[in-house]
């Protein structure tokens, strides 16, 4: 299966934020006005109803020159996604495109994914059912997988007028990123490609002008060790233990029955060998 990726070259972004609206328009997401954040940025980070946020960063580089940096931030669609790992309902899953999506019907709103995402991307949305009762579901960028299935590109990529975003085969996107990196190294010596190995690489690959931390990104994100131990060891062992004890108990019960029949002399009150 060919892997696909969204290529985001933040050095081409001019901060128009069409990607934000386009996402809401396609996915029918409501607005959620926020308090004033002290810059042009509208939301501190992505939320359950705002799947991508454009961050505005004023950065003075080592030469003392002002850089006005923008970053389209959305789900990275990790190859080894912590959210998929921790989801107890298998609601979070990988698609054939390599994207990570939430099956709404399966999601129970437990929030495990919310707490374990190394990029802080997943959030819980609160909805009301027809009786007015509130319930929650995890939400995040789907990379418009419904559009991908129809052979169309993600809404944010489609609308991007600067060429900062593209969607295509991951290999090609990486080649593109490398080519671009070579072009901009002169202007941005700290430029880098963000495709972190700690999560097995991502399906949203960034060309960043500055270090990831300048953009508020973890330098070395990974699936939390706790999640690995929990999901790969504790839970299977726990299940095994549950199984083992249950088996032991059942075994004990049966063997008791057998021995009880053989040794009918024991009284029902279970005094045991009190003699």
């Amino acid at each position: 299966m060919v892997e696909y990726a969204k290529y985001v070259d933040v050095t081409k972004c001019d901060g128009c934020r069409a990607c934000m609206v386009s996402c809401k328009n396609w996915n029918d997401l409501p607005a959620e006005p926020q308090d004033f954040l002290g810059s042009n940025q509208s939301h501190a980070k992505v939320t359950a109803n705002t799947w991508n946020v454009l961050s505005f960063i004023e950065h003075e580089n080592s030469k003392g020159n002002l850089e006005y940096l923008f970053r389209h931030s959305a789900c990275f669609h990790c190859k080894e996604a912590a959210c998929v790992k921790v989801c107890p309902e298998e609601a979070l899953h990988y698609t054939d495109f390599g994207t990570v999506v939430i099956n709404d019907e399966k999601c129970v709103g437990c929030g495990y994914c919310v707490q374990n995402c190394p990029f802080d991307v997943v959030s819980l949305a609160t909805y009301k059912d027809k009786h007015g009762k509130e319930y929650k579901k995890a939400q995040k960028c789907t990379m418009c997988t419904d559009r991908l299935e129809e052979g169309m590109q993600p809404a944010c990529v489609t609308v991007c007028h600067t060429g900062a975003m593209e969607f295509g085969e991951k290999d090609k996107m990486i080649q593109k990123a490398e080519k671009r990196l070579a072009e901009i190294k002169g202007k941005f010596p700290n430029a880098n490609i963000y495709n972190p190995a700690g999560v097995g690489g991502t399906h949203a690959i960034y060309v960043l002008a500055e270090k990831p931390s300048v953009y508020g990104l973890p330098e070395n994100p990974k699936v939390p060790t706790s999640a690995v131990i929990w999901k790969d060891y504790a839970q299977p062992i726990g299940k095994m233990m549950l199984g083992a004890t249950t088996m032991a108990v059942i075994g004990a019960y049966i063997s008791n029955k057998i021995f009880y029949k053989e040794d009918h002399g024991h009284d029902e009150n279970g005094g045991g060998s009190n003699e």
């Binding site: 128009c16 386009s22 328009n25 419904d146 129809e150 052979g151 169309m152 590109q153 489609t158 609308v159």
Partner: protein, 190 residues
């Protein structure tokens, strides 16, 4: 009437087996091809109408998707040479011009000294406006000034119109000057 050629829509270049598994739907122009699934694809079976963005003067093309008398989606027109399917944040929002709860849907009238709007019928509004225009016009009409025929009223003004269609601006310009209005201005000034 409208010929839309979506040949430049940026479909993924999917290769081999993958492509075969992915149905590429031409946006429901042909209902027979429409995506059949338990959860219907958002713009399957929608009617697509091209328009030009109503915001700035760049003149980007936009496709409006309507279905069951509702605007279900708007997107950049991929065939349009100006924007090639791209849009800015404003252009992307034009769907909400229709869907927003803030839209006026009834003529509103505010009587002198009143502190509230009253809903009125169009006919009532038109007739009353026409009457007021005539009153003011008749009272203030100047046909001659220093021996020159001027045929004007300086007590009525008309402002605005930069978002109107050309045909509308033509009628507006014709009507206002026809009424003798000289205070005729619009947003090009500010």
């Amino acid at each position: 009437m409208v010929e839309i050629n979506l040949n430049r829509r940026q479909f993924l270049k999917l290769s081999g087996a993958t492509a075969a598994t992915l149905a590429i739907v031409e946006l429901g122009f042909n209902e027979k091809e429409a995506y059949a699934s338990s959860k219907e694809f958002k713009i399957a079976k929608s009617t697509v109408t091209p328009t030009i963005c109503c915001y700035c003067g760049v003149g980007c093309g936009i496709l409006v998707h309507t279905k069951d008398n509702a605007v279900v989606y708007t997107e950049g027109d991929p065939d349009h040479p100006v924007n090639e399917g791209k849009l800015c944040s404003k252009g992307t929002t034009i769907r909400q011009l229709y869907t927003t709860e803030k839209r006026l849907t009834k003529p509103l009238y505010r009587a002198p000294g009143s502190s509230k709007w009253e809903e009125k019928e169009w006919d009532w509004m038109y007739d009353r406006i026409a009457k007021r225009v005539k009153e003011t016009r008749d009272a203030s009409f100047v046909d001659k000034e220093d021996g020159i025929i001027v045929n004007k009223t300086e007590r009525i003004a008309s402002l605005g119109g930069a978002a109107l269609d050309n045909e509308e601006t033509y009628l507006l310009s014709k009507m206002m000057r026809g009424l003798g209005i000289v205070y005729l201005e619009h947003q090009a000034r500010i």
